[in-house]
Amino acid sequence: MSQPLLETRDLQIQFGGVVAASGVNLDVIEGETLAIIGPNGAGKTTFLNLCTGYIKPSAGRVTFRGADITARSPRAITRLGIARAFQIPQLFAEHTVLENLLLAAAVRDRVWNPFRRLATLPARGEMLALLDLVGAGDLADQPVEVLPEGRRKLVDIAIALALKPRLLLLDEPTSGVASAEKFQIMDILANALARERVTAVFVEHDMEVVRRYASRVAVWNTGKITHSGPPDEVLSDPDVRRDVIGL
């Protein structure tokens, strides 16, 4: 078997006595779309924070493509090829949608010439195409401040995709979005992932979304990965149905 894209070994972290992760071992295989499910407040976002260096584990190790990234900053980890989309969209509020993406492209391509206009970067066409791909082509010149939550989520995901990552981490891509819009966002996302051949991990609480879009499901409970496998198998496990889905 080939080496996993991302590996975590025995990750541990506590917040003021509360154990959020107690020995997490998870491999992410190149090409898969892995969903992480678990009860509310179980620390799923903490897991993404640990993988991207936003917080440091008290013990354990994170490896990306064979390199230890445990002590690296979010900035360094992003440069290695891990991009992240957020539960609360993290946008540049003073910029338009297109400018948000262009900033990402400029950082990706390291365009630091102070006489090069952001608005006319070579990547402009590529970013407009990306906006079309996520179905937000008509929003290019809108200030992000005025967008509804569903659109903001899409822009947030598009920024992550603009970085052309090897691995994309998504934190509740459908939370805070009207249920009719959920599948629309996920269809767009699945389409983009396939087109760009990006491996993805997404934290999700909607089981229907998980069943439809994940190629594998991992269950996070009491600070550990308790189950992992194909969606149908994991979601029909009686323990999982009781603890996570609440049936």
């Binding site: 976002t45 924070n49 936003y54 957020f86 539960q87 609360i88 993290q90 934190d171």
Partner: protein
């Protein structure tokens, strides 16, 4: 450095730290509740000092008992704190609570500019020196060194009183508990129906009074000159930043650290005197950007 000089420097440092603490604790209290760094805080200190000196001169001119200068110090502080504090909070600050951080900072800076000239207009540019309370209490001989009772006893005692009093006030009284609640979680406090407008006003008046008290108590020990407010706001910010924003007990410790550091520098390396507070602050912030007792705040993602 002989032990006598070291002793002298320690006493100097204590007296100085006591004054700086009074100003800094007001600054940190206001910041904790209003989330505004009040640049005009230095002006409260300076105006408190000038008013105390003027009252002292008036008492002497009126032929009244010189002992009245002590209550006059308190009176000066309360007058400045309540009148100026209420005026600025009600007429100005409450209109900018929702504005950008930078603009809030600029508003208090504008008030500071205005008050600087107010001092000049009222008290002129010539130094004031009014040391009646200092002389009344006489000197004390400690190990062969003479020291004023005012500086060695009164100032540290008042600072200690404020520290303990503030702690009791914040923990036991209703107003104090409300202030603590707003400091810790503004949204939650508003949600459970705390009248934040009143809490803001009370806090601002208390903070302003503490700054003015620092000035009033400092007035017998130093000559009052234009620009003293600017020096004090930077110095008290250094204390507050070293301690961590909003930390009352921390401010006391940081004031001691900076006060002692400065007074030892006066005896050992006089050229460095002005630099010491900033060196202390810079060193602390390099290691702990949120200050000695501050808590790092992060964006929720």
């Amino acid at each position: 450095m002989t032990w006598q000089l070291a002793f002298l420097a320690t006493l100097d440092g204590l007296a100085y730290a006591a004054l700086v603490f009074m100003v800094a604790v007001g600054l940190t209290l206001i910041f904790g509740v209003l989330r505004i760094l009040n640049v005009a805080h230095g002006s409260f200190y300076a105006i408190g000092a000038y008013l105390a000196a003027s009252l002292g001169i008036a008492i002497a001119a009126g032929g009244l008992s010189p002992w009245l200068t002590f209550p006059a110090l308190i009176l000066a502080a309360v007058l400045v704190g309540t009148i100026l504090g209420t005026l600025i909070e009600r007429a100005l600050l409450r209109y900018v609570y929702l504005k950008e951080d930078v603009l809030q900072l600029l508003v208090t800076f504008a008030v500071f500019m205005i008050l600087e000239d107010v001092q000049r207009l009222v008290w002129g540019v010539n130094p004031y020196f009014e040391a009646v309370p200092l002389r009344l209490l006489g000197n004390i001989s400690l190990g062969g060194i003479f020291y004023t009772n005012y500086q060695i006893l009164v100032l540290p005692a008042v600072a200690l009183l404020i520290l303990v009093g503030l702690r009791l006030f914040l923990r036991t009284t209703l107003a104090g508990k409300l202030i603590t609640a707003v400091t810790e979680d503004r949204e939650m406090a508003t949600a459970i129906g705390v009248d934040t407008g009143r809490v803001y006003l009370i806090t601002f008046v208390i903070g302003a009074t503490l700054a003015a008290l620092g000035g009033a108590l400092a007035s017998p020990t130093t000559s009052l000159v234009p620009g003293m407010g600017a020096d004090m706001i930077v110095l008290s910010f250094a204390v507050v930043a070293t301690a961590g924003l909003g930390q009352v007990e921390g401010a006391a410790l940081a004031a001691l650290l900076i006060g002692l550091g400065r007074s030892f520098a006066v005896y050992l390396m006089p050229e460095l005197e002005v630099l010491v507070p900033y060196l202390v602050m810079a060193l602390v912030l390099l290691v702990r950007p949120e200050g000695l007792f501050g808590v790092a705040q992060r964006r929720r993602i």
